[in-house]
Symmetry: C2
DNA sequence: TAGTGCTAGTCTCTTTTTGAGACAAACAAT
DNA sequence: ATTGTTTGTCTCAAAAAGAGACTAGCACTA
């Protein structure tokens, strides 16, 4: 319960870089991060495979998001000296340990998607008054 | 296991708006969303209180993030006719049910912050080679 | 009565981030 | 010779976020 006992972060000595919630979440909270983590949690994928799996991600964002996830230690990048060289991305132990609780949130999203969409409709309707 | 069985989303008939993971996560994955949810999971707060709790959020983003969270049904906005009028934000049932699994991820962040930071140092060092 | 401060925002301007799409290099197959 | 494959990078346009001034109504203070 460490980080959940008091305020989101220690307010007295505020330091955004020292807040674990922000520091970790800001990375996995990206538009594409969870999607890629969900894919790589199942099995390793190559760059092009991920690109086909998430058709509307640009190469630029795929490259960048993968590098960020690699930097934080969630995924591994392995280059194979084939011709042309191929690159395989796989989830690390740390990544799997993160994905365990994260999968629960993803499951929640699936289970409650209808409720969220209903809330939106209701909200948008009341805005028009 | 519904959404976790196969690919992140049904790839054959791809529709970003129909993917629960994307539709739900894109909202709670914002830079400030989890932080505000964490605060409001504990007790209701007023606009100014939240602003002080998260010093480096701009009024603009606080307003907008709160409205987005309200739109998705996670929080309630109640105006009190005091002078000057005050507004209280509180977490809904839906919000609490989301926060239950989300709290596990937040706890993970607290427990593994050191490992993530270590991974970053290692990555950045190997980049300089 | 003028000045100051509180509330919860909005409006505008600048900076940062993201998206779209062309381009690269090296080799295989046609 | 041309086309296709791989994993990226580069540039430019569009979208989003951040900074800070501004609003309105009322209370308190001088």
């Amino acid at each position: 319960m460490s980080t959940l006992a008091g305020e989101p972060c220690d307010t007295s000595s505020w330091d955004a870089g020292n807040c674990p919630v922000r520091d970790v979440m800001n990375q996995i909270a990206g538009k594409w991060s969870t999607l890629l983590l969900e894919a790589l949690a199942q099995k390793p994928y190559r760059f092009g495979e991920l690109r086909r799996l998430v058709p509307d991600i640009s190469q630029r964002m795929l490259t960048q998001t993968l590098r960020d996830l690699q930097r934080d230690g969630y995924i591994d990048r392995q280059v194979f000296p084939t011709k042309p060289p191929s690159v395989e991305y796989s989830m690390t132990e740390l990544g799997h340990s993160l994905f365990e609780p994260l999968a629960k949130v993803l499951a929640w999203a699936g289970d409650n998607h209808a409720a969220v969409k209903a809330a939106r409709v209701k909200f948008d309707a009341s805005e028009l008054g």
